[in-house]
Amino acid sequence: MSADPSPPGAESALAARAASSKLNPNVQNHPDTQLEWEFRLTPLPAMPAMPAAGAPVSTETMVELRGVTKRFASVTAVDAVDLTIRKGEFLTLLGPSGCGKTTLLRLLAGFEIPTTGQILIEGQDVSNIPPYRRDVNQVFQSYAIFPHLTVEENIAFGLKMRHVPLAERCARVEEALALVSLAGLGKRRPHELSGGQRQRVALARALVCRPKVLLLDEPLSALDAKLRHDMQLELKQLQRQLGITFVFVTHDQEEALIMSDRIAVIHRGRIDQLGTATEIYHAPASAFTADFIGEANLLDGDIVSSNGVTALVRLDEGVEVTVRAAALRPGSTRALLSIRPEKIYITRTKPAKDNCFKGAIENEIFRGAMDELRIRVAHNLQLMAMVANESAHEHAWHKGDTVYCAIHTDDIVVVEQK
């Protein structure tokens, strides 16, 4: 069995545990089902610190967007966006493809001019200033390394265009090469480099200009998973070290959670939610964010009663769940609830708790460190649960098993209400 709370950061620990149990399939080191549940009754432990959440970011404003709209013919790519980016912040624009996040980045770079609204960098209106006169540099998704120039010449390009004297230019190029761990490769040609190295050249070429804001357009999407994760941590560390404001565009929610100080979730040209990784994950403000970041069971229901501490919501599928009354506004009658799959605890014996549903496992999907279970709890309600992978054990869950799904009241998030 397993009913571990598993924030995304804990996955490697779970993987290690799964691996060790694979090595000793005879060792039964499973906590008693009931015990684990009792442990979970204590107040929610604080989220373990993510690599991204750390030193406080300055409160000074670096970039301000005021009602920025960008229309292409009949399409509104960016729709009246207001956004303040702080100095030294790592801000991620996260959203599905076509949501407008790349257009937003191109507006910051100066490749697009806003249809309406203003963009201010350090208080100066740059809305109509072309890219070559903005103190902003970009790392392109395709890296856009100049193929006819050596690594050194690529990195020196920006300094040459700004007429930096030769001696200083050389010193800064060397410095930039060392910064991205490419020292000694300056004479190479771009086609002699690996994808990861090219990415570093693109990064060095942008950083050497000492931009006020560094824009990154899905720079890691072409790397393999392992290298990608290393680069995420390295990039984050680099940003901390340099104190440069980073605006990072990605469609990969895990990447956003790992790296960002704050995440702006973009949906249909608008900012759906702006907050830290933990805020966005644990308190999604909309159905879209709840669904896009991580995975979620989204459930609609009527608010039936409230006793001041807890409230009862009858889901449209007929099941009743208890939520914290504090999460509801007075007068609300309908609520949209989100339950993270890893917050559903699966047991074989009925736990004595408020939110507990009996159901049958309809499907079990192996996902490596985790097992995804689809559990039918009512004739038209299927819940998705995520448990640590125990498939090598006798405790493993199987299709057709009758189980209980228990959900802590605090783990049911009211996403929308009216």
């Binding site: 770079a109 070559y132 540099n137 970009q138 100049f146 006819h148 120039l149 265009m161 086609h191 200009c209």
Partner: protein, 272 residues
Amino acid sequence: MRLSLPTRNYLPARGMARVRALFGGWTVLVLLFFYAPILFLVAYSFNSSRLNIVWEGFTLKWYAMLFRDNRLMAALENSVFVAVLATALSVVVGTTGAWLLHRYRYRGVRTISTLAFIPMVVPEIIMGISLLVFFKTVDVGLGYGTVIVAHTTFCFPFVMAAVQARLAGLDPALEEAALDLGATPLKAFWYVIVPYLMPAILSGALMAFALSMDELIVTYFTSSSSSATLPLRIYGMAKVGLNPMINALSTIFIVATIVLLLASEWVKRLRR
């Protein structure tokens, strides 16, 4: 029943040999048809007889005579001068034209890009006559200028076509990266786009040079007697009777053209 893996040769060995002989023979015939006249011409340029039809013995005297002929040497100078300038103009017009058509969106882009290729397909005689009429109308005296302009009109589409083909594979982020790093659009074009296009520009330029060196009909209508090019002079000589010196000259021309075309192909392959 045994299953065998499919092989590339579907015919039995003997049938295959027959097919090969057939295709091989056909290929040899086609090549002969194309190149035999040229080979004859090259061979007879070394013939010591004045008559083209009788082989007397090997000689280089026609080559020696050729280099002593002042009128032919003057025509060769004219040809090179015209070709160099027409090529330079074609490179400028063709490259900037291709870039402007590729990069910017404005009314008439399609019309312009179609019109640009018309000189490639219009019969040369029509090109020649219309240019002549044009020069007469605007009252420009025929000379080097008119020949160079005339050659540029049919040479630049070749540069443009080569450059357009390379532009099709251009990552738009390359120009944006240059702009982002502080280059104005003009500097971005010069420092990033032109180096990227260089193989196409060179191969287009070689093509343009070869075409200009060869051109007869348009030149016939647009040149004066002092600016006559080599093909025009050869044509004039051939009218009064074939002279083995022309064979020698043609051989030099053929070799030069082949070298240029091979160089153009080689440059094309330099593309990374």
